[in-house]
């Protein structure tokens, strides 16, 4: 029973080449890259190769600027807590946005409890931060600005390069959570002007459980994980070499195939946007028309609730993601969607459709056909929908 995965933002399949190198690595039983004997050096060499591949994907000035972590969440925690602790003698003010991922928000919550002050910037109705707001919010106490590159709920991309210009001028550290962007859209840490950038391997079809943090040379930051001197003394602990090898391969392929992939997913997104009005009406598009990920579309379907849509599509062997309060487990509407200006009711009907190079046009057609029926069924049950179809 093959499920159509239109929930790529939650999980992407591993590329066959990635699986191959990982299985080879498992068979090989690499030793510890930190060991000084020849078995250790052999492992260190493959670790370095993977590091170079990822550094190439981001255009780092040296591979040393890539620290491998257990994923995007650890990277965000490291960036925020590491900078806060290392710079609290300079100041305790941090600037972020209203639409960050929980890893950023909760890290900031933790710091707030220790006396840090957080300013959270609003977004416009398109979901974007205004760089001018960043400039105005910076004070002599500001030590960090953390604004995500792309949002996992709306797909909207932020003006990080403009913000980077501002933070460079004012000498404030800039972190960007780019977990959903790296490997999907071209990204150059030099052009963005970021000091820290978090990313996750699965976003570019590598294994879950591996990610990384770009740390620009000279950035004042403490490690999150203290222990050994691995990762250039920035993250203690023996590296997940099998996962990192897979990540390196995935990064290499992402750089090589970037243009091809963009064309592929953009075509699917265009098809969705073009044909959606033919199957349902009364919905809101949350994804920015110009500045957004090419592989994600977020829509809010009026008068019905997201989890029930997701369950019915599940019955049709289609996997999508919803951002309704019930489904996210927190029983609160998404703070991201409310920040866009959506009403609570509309926010509940949100579907996040995300896809990749393993999806085809046929998947989109299947999805749209199923969506038509699901929406009709749920609107017939809903007290909010007045325009009932005859029974």
């Amino acid at each position: 029973m093959k499920v159509v995965n239109l929930d790529h933002i939650s999980a992407k399949p591993l590329l066959p080449e990635v699986k191959t190198v990982m299985i080879e690595a498992i068979e090989k039983d690499y030793h510890n890259p930190a060991s000084q004997h020849k078995s250790g050096e052999e492992a260190a060499a493959v670790l370095q190769k993977a590091r170079e591949a990822v550094a190439g994907l981001l255009n780092c000035s040296t591979p040393k600027e890539i620290v491998f972590t257990s994923g995007g969440t650890e990277s965000a925690n490291h960036a925020i807590k590491g900078v806060a602790m290392a710079n609290e003698d300079k100041g305790k003010h941090i600037i972020t946005s209203n639409i960050e991922h929980n890893a950023v928000i909760r890290s900031l919550r933790r710091l707030k409890a220790s006396g840090f002050v957080v300013t959270s910037l609003p977004v416009d109705s398109g979901g974007r931060v205004n760089p001018k707001d960043v400039a105005e919010a910076i004070t002599k106490d500001t030590i960090l600005v953390s604004i995500m590159h792309s949002n996992n709920e709306t797909g909207t991309i932020q003006p990080i390069a403009e913000i980077g210009e501002i933070t460079r001028k004012k000498k404030v550290i800039l972190h960007s959570d780019a977990v959903d962007s790296v490997g999907v859209v071209p990204l150059d840490v030099q052009k963005l002007g970021v000091d820290l950038l978090s990313f996750a391997s699965n976003t570019f079809y590598g294994p879950v459980g591996v990610g990384g943090l770009f740390i620009r040379r000279g950035t004042r930051i403490f490690p999150l994980l203290e222990g050994g001197v691995q990762e250039n003394n920035k993250r203690g602990g023996a590296e997940n070499l099998v996962g990192i090898i897979g990540t390196g391969k995935a990064a290499q392929l992402a750089l090589r195939d970037m243009d091809k992939r963009l064309i592929h997913v953009r075509a699917l997104k265009d098809k969705l946007l073009t044909e959606m009005p033919n199957v349902i009406d009364e919905y809101i598009i949350n994804t920015h028309p110009d500045y957004s990920l090419p592989n994600l579309l977020s829509i809010s379907i009026k008068y019905i609730e997201g989890e029930s849509v997701m369950l019915m599509l599940d019955d049709n062997d289609i996997a999508v993601s919803t951002r309704s309060a019930c489904a996210t487990g927190s029983l609160r509407a998404s703070h991201v969607l409310l920040s866009l200006g959506l009403s609570h009711a509309d926010a509940q009907g949100t579907l996040v459709i995300s896809f990749g190079i393993d999806n085809t046009e046929a998947d989109i057609v299947t999805f749209l056909k199923a969506l038509k029926n699901v929406v009709k069924t749920l609107r017939d049950i809903s007290p909010l929908y007045q325009n009932k179809s005859p029974l």
Binding site: T96, L311, S324, L338
Partner: protein, 170 residues
């Protein structure tokens, strides 16, 4: 996530619809928590002769609405008044812990509808038979700003971090 019984009521909900000349109507819920249930009753000889529901909500909400109308149909008003959320959850063979509040809404909507019928009989006019759920913290949760998600004090009307007014929610 849900057991077979819940999924059955979700996939094949019983008694969906409205009753144009209902004897009693009860609506409970609030888009804030994501569920709204409306129950319509037709009463004959002190029994629930017909019952219909409409629901805006998740899988649990639809299943609960369906189940409670199935249980209540045909019951005497006296018996129907005894129906609680626990009866519904039991009939559904259990709901995930964070979905139990959905079962509250179902039972409450039914009771409101019965009350609405009795009010009409007694000539009592209440404002619309709708109950909006107040902003509630389930499971002893802390309070968070709905816009920037930062932790805030219970009952405040303004969030310092993102400068948003919170009049509505609190």
């Amino acid at each position: 996530m849900y057991n077979k019984t819940v999924m059955d009521h979700f996939r094949n909900p019983r008694n969906v619809g409205v009753l144009e000349d209902a004897d009693g109507v009860g609506e409970v819920g609030n888009p804030l928590c994501g569920d709204i249930m409306t129950i319509y009753l037709k009463i004959k000889d002190e029994r629930i002769a017909d019952i219909k529901f409409q629901t805006f909500g998740c899988g649990s909400a639809i299943a609960v609405s369906s189940m409670i109308t199935e249980i209540a149909k045909g019951k005497s008003l006296a018996d129907a008044k005894q129906l609680t959320n626990k009866d519904v959850a039991k009939a559904l063979e259990g709901l995930p812990k964070n979905k139990l509040h959905c079962s509250n809404l179902g039972a409450d909507a039914l009771q409101l509808a019965i009350q609405n019928y009795e009010d009409k009989l007694a000539g009592v006019t209440r404002p619309e038979p709708i109950r909006k759920e107040k902003h509630e913290h389930s499971h002893g949760e802390k309070c968070y700003c709905p816009y920037c998600d930062i932790e805030i004090q219970e009952g405040i009307t303004f969030c310092d971090a993102c400068q948003s007014s919170l009049e509505e929610e609190h």
